[in-house]
């Protein structure tokens, strides 16, 4: 096992672990706003670590560039969805009160 393989393993384990923690957070929290916190974290920490693991393995190739594009899309666009969902949850809560 080379140092490169070790780095890939560590990054992947951290990324998948972060995603699992976010899954448990979404499962255990009580309302939509608390759940959004974990859902947002799942679009930042985990994808960057897993993308970094792929990039260490692939380096600069077509797959590596597509990985960068994918992670960038997830990182930049998902906060828009989270904000829209939070506004929808707020509207639903205001209507219920």
């Amino acid at each position: 096992m080379t140092a490169r393989d070790l780095i890939v393993d560590v990054l992947l384990a951290l990324g998948v672990g972060a995603e699992l923690i976010c899954c448990l957070g979404v499962l255990l929290m009580r309302n939509a706003f608390d759940r959004l916190h974990y859902s947002s974290a799942a679009t930042t920490v985990g994808p960057v670590l897993i993308g970094a693991a792929v990039l260490v393995r692939e380096s600069v190739s077509a797959g590596g560039l597509q990985t960068i594009a994918t992670i960038t899309l997830v990182f930049l666009l998902n906060p828009v969805v989270e904000i829209a969902t939070a506004r929808a949850a707020l509207r639903i809560r205001d209507r219920a009160e």
Partner: protein, 83 residues
Amino acid sequence: MSVFLIAASVLLVAILIPGVVCVRAQAIDGVVALELCSTLATLALLCLAEGFHRGIYFNVALISAATAWAGGLIFARFFGRYL
């Protein structure tokens, strides 16, 4: 078995956890869980592409990231307006 295939398997199984929230919680909580499911699916596709060493499979993850964003936005707008 490649470490990327193991990671993809774990991520695919992890989709079941927010899946429980989709089924059992209120609708808006289900939307939040669905967004998490889409992120997990995109990452699983990325890991599968690397695990199978097929460059063309990376396109699937890229398209998944783009369409999951559009789908999540539509769901959020729909539920905010009609619930």
